[in-house]
């Protein structure tokens, strides 16, 4: 016998996750457009690994397998991780990162709904700490480097670590716009000169800024369909904008402007897809503002003053730790206990 309410909105975890996956598509399409199809290989690889690991863990934990495999949450983790690491990363890195994310960061914490940290970001953190060199194999956008790998050659590299005879890895890949900026600023080059390099486009990295735009589009779709609330993206991007703006105004020669920070690195992906992960983010609206503002601050600090080129992943993980406390201190006032009334 079941009890009221007897009706429910036809919605499900699986449908929500599917919508998030769909929202990633514009960004992925642009990714392929500018950087070639290698990213699809790592997304596929990550997806298969995620589903396999998920099924294995569910089996080990003696949980029903099909409903959970169909909830699309493992796929989402896989996609986010694949989009965060270089497309030319060797296959075993994708597998290790994804398996770690699903097995350790998700299932050892109790599976769907119980993980304290964003699994994709845990996977990313493991990879960047363990394999820092491979994590810099970013493909250059079309027309940036002298020789480009064909798709079969890329596959060869991903799966067999084999490059065509004539090429060296350095000629084929390049650092990210954020990384390049950091390196050149260290060499005391003026900002204007650095940004004139071909790797930079309209606001940030050539090509990568368009991918970020794609993620922004998908994010707006998520906002419009009420999958996510405005609090996290607004507070994250707002904080990043204000911080970058202030530093840029004070010393434009050494600090990139707010738009650069918005469209470089994982800002957009983080603002709309990573920080908004409901499981590992706060449940109160005020808490979301604090959480995302904190992540924005940390991201900026890590990017500008820290040792890693991008800070979204570590900012997310650090703020994940604070979530229970943030939620505890941002409990909304309940009906009738709000004070001001007519």
């Amino acid at each position: 016998m079941f009890f009221s309410p007897l009706i429910s909105k036809s919605d499900s975890v699986s449908a929500i996750m599917l919508k998030v996956l769909l929202a990633l598509l514009p960004g992925i399409v642009l990714y392929v457009w500018y950087f070639g199809p290698a990213i699809l290989v790592s997304i596929t690889l990550a997806s298969l690994t995620a589903l396999g690991t998920e099924a294995l863990m569910l089996k080990l934990r003696d949980r029903p397998i099909m409903p959970f495999l169909k909830d699309n949450s493992a796929l989402l983790t896989a996609w986010l991780l694949a989009l965060s690491i270089p497309p030319l990363a060797p296959w075993w890195m994708v597998v290790v990162g994804t398996a770690f994310a699903i097995a350790i960061a998700k299932h050892l914490y109790g599976g769907l709904g119980n993980n304290m940290f964003n699994p994709a970001m845990v996977g990313y953190a493991v990879l960047i700490i363990s394999f820092p060199a491979q994590m810099t194999h970013w493909i250059a956008p079309h027309g940036m480097v002298i020789s480009e790998l064909t798709f079969p050659q890329q596959l060869d590299f991903i799966f067999h670590d084999v490059l065509p005879n004539s090429d060296t890895l350095d000629a084929l890949t390049m650092a990210t716009p954020l990384d390049t900026l950091k390196t050149h600023l260290h060499l005391d080059q003026p900002m204007r000169q650095i940004l004139d390099m071909p790797i930079y486009g309209r606001f940030a990295g050539h090509g990568s800024e368009m991918v970020a735009l794609g993620f922004l589009l998908g994010g707006l779709y998520l906002l419009a369909s009420r999958i996510i609330s405005w609090h996290i993206p607004a507070a994250f991007l707002g904080t990043l904008f204000v911080l970058a703006g202030i530093f840029h105004l004070v010393d434009p020669a050494h600090y990139a402007g707010p738009l650069f920070h918005w469209f470089a690195g994982a800002s957009m992906l983080g603002a709309f897809f990573i920080l908004t992960d409901p499981v590992s983010s706060p449940t109160t609206n005020n808490g979301r503002l604090i959480y995302a503002a904190g992540a924005g601050l940390l991201t900026y600090l890590i990017r500008v003053f820290g040792g890693f080129p991008d800070g979204v992943a570590f900012a997310t993980l650090l703020m994940n730790i604070c979530v229970p406390l943030i939620v505890l201190y941002t409990q909304p006032k309940v009906f009738g206990k709000k004070g001001s009334q007519p």
Binding site: S4, L112, G336
Partner: protein, 529 residues
């Protein structure tokens, strides 16, 4: 936050709410019909919040329509009457409409078809004191007909609070239910007069009648009745259709802006709220001298002829279902709406004062819930919660039986409206968890009270035993002293009286030794157990 409306009146907004499909039009196409007299009535003696009424009719007795068969017992209680004339054939435990599926005390009445009334006495309420009117309502068995069945007379007891606003609840926000809608369409004048009587008893300044704007006919009819009756400071207000806008707290908020927190009486804030059907019943009680014997009930859902019927209290639900013509694939019957109702343990249970709607349920209308997934903390539940709670946290605490924390997170502010469960993408029966946690907490508080009482009684007993021992010892000592004094006084032979005293002394000593021995034995018994 005011919202726009055509009432020229500032309305307020409450947090959250949902818009489920209303499914109301099916049952409003036909007018209210009178259900035929059933062959048997089973009248529960506990149809209201509070104490069960004390049966005052005898088995085998012929009772008249409107005759008292259950006397209010205790402060929170109400009267129960014979719904028609006939013979009481049993007063025993019978299955009733309760989610537990447990039986309760009921009177079985076989109607004689005469419909012979007890003498009825109509009164002019203006000639009576509010306290006198309250007693009349109590004895007329008038309870809130919105669903909670709280005795209405108690809601009219005012302790020094000035009531500014009387809110009449005609919102009827739950899907499927249309009994108030039809009552307002067809019997608006009586409702409005009932409201006037309630206003008199409360000494309230204004009357606000809130009706959701998906009931234009009811609004028009009520407005016409207010205008025709020349009622001053009484206003029919169309409120936005949003579930649970018909919750008393929510309606009071929308109409007056006042939020009544859990555990606070609305009268403390100068507002009181009654259901429109209750106002109608109050009018019947005063203007016609009729106790509450029938009510309007919607039969809808998986039936051929969804409609509203005026049904006698105690009518088996099966009779009503037959009138509606339940379709063959009907698998259960819901009392109340789909959001807050519950499945009846049997279709034979009697209709009670709180029965506003019966929905024939089938797999097609209410498909079994999809498999439950873990909570992903998406907070859709928090977005729709009309009490501004954090349902995902309450769920967590209830699930892990952390009742203290659930209470600290305002579990008892939950009105169990079900909006959270409605939107949950993981299909978690959230309200079910809250009901579980609430009744566990209540049970614990009850146990605690019992324990405290037992402790007091035990302490008292220990003290008493101690005192008795002391008294006995003192008495003994005094006697021994006296005896010694006597011995010292001279070695004369003991008189017969002295001998008797001596013997008595010996027996009391023996008794005390025995007592001491038994105490030791008792202790032994304890340790070896």
């Amino acid at each position: 936050m005011p919202v726009g409306n055509d009432n020229m009146r500032k309305l307020y907004h409450f947090h959250g709410g949902i818009h489920p499909p209303s499914n109301k039009t099916q049952s409003t196409r036909a007018t209210i019909a009178r259900a035929p007299l059933p062959a048997k009535l089973v009248i529960p003696l506990h149809q209201h919040a509070g104490e069960t009424a004390k049966p005052v009719a005898r088995v085998g007795e012929r009772v008249l329509k409107g005759q008292l068969i259950g006397m209010p017992d205790g402060i929170v209680s109400s009267a129960v009457h014979a719904s028609t004339s006939g013979t009481i054939t049993a007063i025993d435990m019978q299955l009733i409409a309760h989610p537990s599926g447990l039986p309760n005390l009921c009177a079985t009445l076989i109607p004689d078809g005469e419909e012979e009334w007890v003498p009825r006495k109509a009164i002019d309420y203006r000639d009576h004191s509010p306290a006198g009117l309250q007693h009349l309502l109590r004895m007329a068995g008038v309870v809130g007909l919105g669903g909670a069945a709280f005795p209405s007379d108690l809601k009219l007891s005012l302790d020094r609070h000035k009531i500014t606003t009387l809110v009449l609840n005609g919102a009827e926000c739950e899907p499927y239910i249309t009994c108030d809608d039809m009552l307002m369409r067809e019997r608006a004048a009586e409702i409005v007069q009932g409201a006037e009587m309630l206003r008199f008893m409360l000494d309230a300044e204004e009357v606000l009648i809130g009706i959701e704007d998906n009931k234009p006919e009811a609004i028009a009819s009520m407005r016409a009745a207010v205008a025709a009756g020349g009622h001053r400071r009484m206003e029919v207000i169309a409120v936005p259709t949003v579930y649970p806008g018909g919750g008393a707290k929510q309606l009071i908020r929308v109409l007056t802006g006042i939020e009544v927190a859990a555990g606070v009486r609305s009268t403390d804030k100068g507002v009181q709220c009654f259901n429109v059907a209750t106002a109608y019943t109050v009018h019947r009680a005063f203007a016609h001298g009729e106790p509450l014997l029938s009510r309007i009930v919607t039969i809808t859902g998986n039936v051929l002829h969804p409609r509203n019927y005026e049904v006698l209290i105690g009518t088996p639900i099966a009779e009503l279902v037959a009138l509606g013509g339940a379709l063959p694939d009907t698998d259960s019957y819901i009392m109340g709406g789909p959001m807050m109702g519950f499945p009846l343990p049997s279709v034979q249970v009697p209709l009670v004062k709180a029965t506003n709607c019966i929905i024939a349920s089938s797999k097609k209308i209410f498909p079994p819930p999809p498999p439950v997934m873990p909570c992903i903390r998406c907070t859709r539940c928090a977005d729709v919660c009309p009490a501004d709670l954090q349902p995902q946290d309450l769920f967590w605490f209830a699930q892990s039986r952390e009742f203290g924390r659930a209470q600290a997170f305002n579990l008892f502010d939950c009105i169990e409206c079900g909006a959270c469960s409605y939107v949950c993408p993981s299909h978690i029966p959230l309200v079910q968890y809250y009901r579980f946690a609430k009744s566990e907490i209540h049970a614990r508080e009850h146990d605690k009270q019992l324990a405290d009482k037992a402790r007091v009684r035990h302490d008292y007993r220990e003290q008493r035993i101690e005192r008795e021992k002391q008294e006995k010892a003192d008495k003994l000592a005094a006697r021994e002293k006296a005896a010694q004094a006597a011995r010292l006084a001279g070695a004369q032979p003991l008189t017969a009286q002295q001998q008797a005293e001596q013997a008595e002394l010996e027996t009391s000593r023996a008794h005390i030794r025995e007592l001491a021995q038994s105490a030791v034995e008792h202790a032994d018994e304890g340790t070896t157990k």
